[in-house]
């Protein structure tokens, strides 16, 4: 088989893209299978005898285990709440005209752009006063500030694509708005709802700033614990990289599932 030089260049370029995207990720996973000696080798070794010791350490560390549990609980709960609150709101935005609609949109977009530090300061003080500091609840609520807009946006888009005739027909049969929402929009909009839920889970799972500021001992999330290993004299690199891998792997799989929607999710649909 002969390849023209242009085809060869194309293949080479694409290979570079793949190496570029995966290299840091690969380097982390490789380090998670290295012994401390192999990691500290200078220059770094590319071929090594893999060890499972780091993962043994991670899975027997109750701190990591607890943190992953916390992350799982918080991300699931905030996602469920975001869908529960966001889907009905999305229906209203998709099918009704009312005053203040543009303002609501503006609010959602601003939230996508706002630095978490802006809310972290007052929420910290409020949580301090109400005793909510270091509870699951405070993170579940504060994560809604970015999850709710994502869910509302994606679901609005999805609901708009449902033919209005279906709704008109149902209304002629005497169905009220709530029945229409439940029987038509929820089932037909399910794919969009699922995508928005996955996004909401990924963002919550990945979040560090709020978790760092609003938690202490009890509800540290996985990124907080992974970061906390980064102090002290001799860093346990293998364990850190194994923890990193454990954190990143599940959300990477989720992200691959919604990869077709990635751009729309991240731009709030400004580009299609």
């Amino acid at each position: 088989m002969r390849l023209s030089s242009s085809k060869l260049l194309h293949a080479l370029g694409l290979t570079c893209v793949i190496v570029f995207s995966l290299f840091p990720f690969y380097w982390m996973i490789a380090a998670s299978f290295k012994t401390q000696n192999d990691i500290l080798a200078s220059p770094p070794v590319w071929l090594f005898a893999p060890t499972l010791d780091n993962y043994r350490q991670v899975f027997s560390d109750s701190k990591v285990f607890g943190a992953v549990g916390n992350s799982l609980l918080i991300a699931s709960a905030t996602t469920a709440l975001a869908v529960l609150l966001g889907a009905p709101a999305a229906y209203a935005l998709a099918r009704f005209e009312f005053r203040g609609k543009a303002d609501l949109w503006f609010w959602f977009i601003s939230n996508r752009m706002m630095s978490p530090i802006v809310l972290a300061l007052p929420v910290y003080l409020l949580a301090l006063q109400t005793g909510l500091l270091d509870t699951h609840l405070v993170l579940i609520l504060v994560y809604l500030t970015f999850n709710l807009p994502i869910v509302v946006w994606i679901c609005t888009d999805q609901f708009k694509s449902i033919p209005p005739d279906l709704e008109q027909a149902a209304r002629l049969d005497g169905a009220d708005q709530f029945t229409i929402f439940r029987k038509i929009y929820l089932p037909l909009g399910a794919p969009g709802i699922a995508v928005s839920a996955i996004f909401s889970f990924i963002f919550s799972w990945n979040e560090l700033l709020y978790a760092l500021v609003l938690t202490r001992r009890n509800v540290q999330t996985a990124p907080v614990v992974a970061t906390s290993f980064m102090s002290g004299y001799e860093l346990p690199w293998g364990k850190i990289m194994a923890t990193g891998t454990v954190i990143v792997l599940p959300v990477t799989i989720f992200a691959l599932i919604v990869s077709r929607h990635m751009v729309r999710g991240l731009t709030m649909g400004a580009t299609k």
Partner: protein, 300 residues
């Protein structure tokens, strides 16, 4: 935007949308507006919780005055701006190159694989990106220095030197967000109607002319979105930089979110930090307005 042709409902009662919206709006008021107002009030008070003896009096615009004359605050905004203009051109150019590679016909399997792997950097937990950066850019056993040594440039102390640290966080940001640019541009390229692209290819063999006169108009909305979104992203960039450098060495990587976090949660001067946060919020609102005005024209 989604199609706007769908007719709004007729014959519904006036309050129907209210019941669907109320739970979401009430929640947003509670978790968004109320804390923001609280921050606004705090920004007018002396509020250092590490020094409760000083009291929590209202001091008018004193916090704002001290923020606006605080050279470190301005320096952190300057560093943030410098970071933006350092990473964005590279992300845009690399992203465009990748998008063109993915748009080109042929190499189906390799293209599909490349398209999928682009999602990996985007999904990687930002804090973990920082952890990976610490390993890659380690002075003694980092792979970055190994590569530099191999090509004969010689390694250096990335995270220990101001320029090195700034470059290192820039490289990690470029790694994470170039795929985002690539995917946006790819979406733009696929909007070019097939007939037009075919016709243009018959007219010219110059790829540059094709890009400039046929494809560019379809890329511009995406580029505008990128310029605005990335500016907001850089203003809120915290996780990766916090893990990699904590803003150091010195103030080399002291981005604005890092600085405000330090004033609020290391020095515990929440009054000053709140004033800084409110100023950042105003900046963000301006950026959002711009985004909506330019990209959601058809909604308004």
């Amino acid at each position: 935007m989604a199609d706007m042709t769908a007719k709004p409902n007729r014959g519904y009662r006036r309050w129907t949308p209210f019941w669907f919206l109320a739970p979401a709006v009430a929640t947003l008021l509670l978790i968004g507006i109320y804390p923001t107002l609280f921050a606004l009030i705090t920004s007018f008070r002396r509020y250092n919780i590490a020094r409760p003896r000083e009291g929590f009096d209202f001091i008018g615009f004193d916090n704002y005055a001290s923020v606006l004359t605080d050279s470190t605050f301005w320096a952190s905004l300057g560093t943030t701006a410098r970071f933006y203009v350092s990473v964005l051109p590279i992300q845009v150019m690399l992203g465009l190159a990748i998008a063109l590679l993915l748009h080109k016909t042929g190499m189906g399997f390799l293209k599909a694989l490349a398209r999928v792997t682009l999602v990996v950097p985007l999904a990687t937990t930002y804090a973990v990106v920082g952890l990976i950066g610490r390993l890659i850019f380690n002075r003694d056993f980092g792979v970055a220095n190994q590569i530099l040594n191999a090509i004969g440039v010689g390694g250096f102390d990335w995270l220990g030197s101001p320029r090195g640290a700034f470059t290192a966080i820039a490289i990690m940001d470029i790694w994470q967000w170039t795929p985002f640019c690539a995917l946006i541009f790819l979406a733009g390229l696929s909007m070019v109607p097939g007939e037009i692209e075919e016709a243009a290819r018959l007219e010219t063999t110059s790829k540059w002319a094709l890009l400039r006169y046929v494809q560019l108009p379809y890329l511009l909305p995406g580029l505008t979105a990128l310029l605005i979104l990335r500016s907001a992203d850089v203003l809120k960039l915290f996780d990766m930089v916090f893990v990699m450098t904590r803003g150091g060495p010195g103030a080399a990587t002291d981005l604005v979110s890092i600085y405000i976090q330090r004033v609020g949660f290391r020095i515990f001067d929440l009054g000053t930090a709140s004033a800084q946060a409110i100023l950042l919020l105003v900046l963000t609102i301006l950026i959002s307005r711009l985004y909506i005005r330019i990209l959601y024209r058809e909604v308004q």
